[in-house]
Symmetry: C2
Subunit: 388 residues, 2 copies
């Protein structure tokens, strides 16, 4: 734990099969007009929408509808949400859905009382909010992004072919999040495993950086091991409550800043995946899985000690009689086997990307410097080619 | 992660060599009169007292002295602290020291505006606070109790020979805690290792209970492994900043409720140790280490699967060709080796306990039901005899 850092995460989590009840405890703390944010019709089909409307009504709230939040929320949708909030003098934003709905709610929350265009302010200039922030609550229906307990928000601009994330401070984190693993069971399997890989990669992004002996790395390994074990149960039986609950809880702790304390972090897989996502509009987790192995194989020599530790601690690779390179490579092979078993995308072409997109995706890839190797543009192109 | 639970931990942590600077950011949030809580003279000797007085003065605070907090804060001292706070209309309690100072500050915080005697109300009847709670901040100088990020407070009543802990809710948790690993370096080695064992046992108490596949258990193993690795470095070289920082950070996360989410917990080692502590006034961590192995050996058959997992995951015991009992026993032997290496007490007689105290300690031992075996009083006596 080298360096100076702070940790402050005031989001209150309610977890479990009966966690929705606690919405009744939280709602009285906020104003009368609630903007109800959700995606397509799935929350209507599974009855959650009706349950929540009922709780809101019983708590005397005026409900303002804001539906149609897409998997990668767009800047146009964000502007619409801000308009809805302003026109209705909304007091509280309640997001019901996956990470996209939470991300979107946070982006709306910092934009309602801000005069400027939010895309320019928050996603191009990365300004901090200097206006009143609306409070946000989340009812989570998909495990993956960790958005339920952090200040992150990713918005896509199709016109500019950009998908950019801004990690806001603790004042933008949801005031509370309700996590019921049962809600995640109605998801199609493909979305479940995309979420699982998203979780796993969040951990990798924070793990594959730095080489000190850091408590955060031990916790990262613990979360990876729990996700691996539970994901193998969940792909066999998506109704396994214990597995789904471990996955949901691990997702939250994988990206609420805990495992990045006292260390540097990488995030290049996200930069590559998000750039590819802006071109293909593919599911976030699948874009990450498609570029991960080519990226990690490429940077392995520059962070060999961590890749050896990863192989031994996470994948139980027996190191006896093997070189560091062999141990590390076996770790990545074990990771690939697991990715195949759970069924995530292993190439960008599976997601609709084509050779002619490579240069454009490379242009859209923001190059960060926290990992074991700062990539050149040529190296980005090379990794993307190997990901095709 | 079975069952329903919540997680809310609003304490803001500032960690690192420069973390004291952030006291300047926090102090303006609170009122003018600050009760400065500390123990003996060590913070005066190492200069920390002067630094803090200087910061308080520069922030325009009126300082009310409250020194002499002992390692096991007594009910008499608590009553004195409450009197000081009332007489001076104190607005804010700043604890500078180890867990005892934080525990004591929290006990004062819930008692100043409460009419009743705090011992009866909080430590005998376990009432919740129904009066205004004073805000508390901590500057931590010893790693161990986790008091810096939880609502726990342990108070000793020598007259009644009772040492009782009350875990208060999130409104009693410190508003902020400042964690500088350098401050822990001035401690005598014996206190350092007592703190290390306290941390390790906090994790064990939450780990050795339940048998589901739980993310919390993976995180518990991660914290144990980090503490074991760093403790062996720190006993060789107490000035190793990286080791001391990992220990300090692990201590906080070992007891801020994270690793008990979604599972049952034991806490019988603490019940036995605290009862022994009320008789011997020995350092908390040492009373825990003295009773741990006899207790775990005794309950091992009732939770054999977890003890096997402990042996394999935490101590890397090779399970090949061995029975579950052999694997589990080897795990506890490895734990004993580590305890010997770091130099914690392995018997109560080392701490001044004698045979004639056994019955009294057994009487003072509160028997809990969260572990693998609910002990009878005879079993408590047996375990205490084996701990002598």
């Amino acid at each position: 734990m080298l360096g100076n850092f702070s940790f402050h995460n005031p989001t209150k989590l309610y977890f479990g099969e009966n966690s929705l009840e606690f919405l009744n405890e939280e709602l009285p703390k906020y104003g009368k007009t609630v903007q109800l944010i959700y995606g397509g019709g799935s929350v209507k089909k599974n009855g959650l929408y009706d349950e929540i409307i009922d709780i809101l009504k019983r708590n005397g709230k005026t409900v303002v509808e804001d539906s149609g939040v897409m998997p990668n929320p767009t800047v146009e949708k964000l502007r619409e949400g801000v308009r809805i909030a302003r026109e209705n003098n909304v007091d509280f934003l309640l997001a019901v859905g996956g990470g996209s709905c939470c991300d979107y709610a946070k982006a709306v929350s910092v934009s309602v009382n801000c005069g400027e265009d939010p895309w320019e302010k928050y996603f191009i200039r990365f300004d901090e909010p200097d206006c009143e922030i609306l409070p946000v609550g989340c009812v989570l229906t998909m495990a993956g992004t960790g958005s339920e307990m952090n200040g992150g928000s990713v918005i896509t601009n199709h016109e500019q072919k950009l998908k950019i994330g801004h990690v806001f401070g603790d004042e933008v984190m949801p005031k509370f999040s309700i996590l019921n693993p049962k809600y995640t069971m109605s998801l199609p399997k493909r979305q479940m495993v995309a979420g699982i890989y998203d979780i796993f990669n969040h951990i990798c992004e924070q793990y594959f950086s730095g080489d000190d002996d850091n408590t955060s790395d031990y916790i990262a390994e613990a979360l990876m091991k729990s996700v691996i074990r539970s994901s193998l149960v969940a792909v066999e039986n998506p109704e396994d409550y214990e597995a789904r609950s471990n996955i949901m809880w691990s997702a939250t702790w994988a990206l609420n800043t805990l495992i990045s304390r006292g260390k540097s972090t990488d995030w290049m897989v996200h930069m590559l995946g998000q750039a590819a996502g802006a071109y293909t509009d593919a599911t976030h987790g699948m874009t990450l899985s498609a570029v991960s192995l080519p990226y990690y194989r490429y940077i392995m020599p520059y962070g060999i000690k961590k890749f050896v530790r990863f192989a031994k601690e996470v994948w139980c690779v027996n190191p006896e009689g093997k070189s560091e390179e062999q141990i590390a490579a076996e770790g990545l092979e074990a990771m690939k086997d697991w990715m195949q078993k759970i069924g995530v995308a292993l190439s960008l072409s599976q997601l609709g990307a084509t050779e002619d997109m490579i240069e454009g995706i490379a242009d859209a890839t923001i190059i960060l410097d926290g990992g074991y190797k700062v990539l050149s543009r040529d190296e980005v192109v090379e990794i993307l080619k190997q990901s095709l």
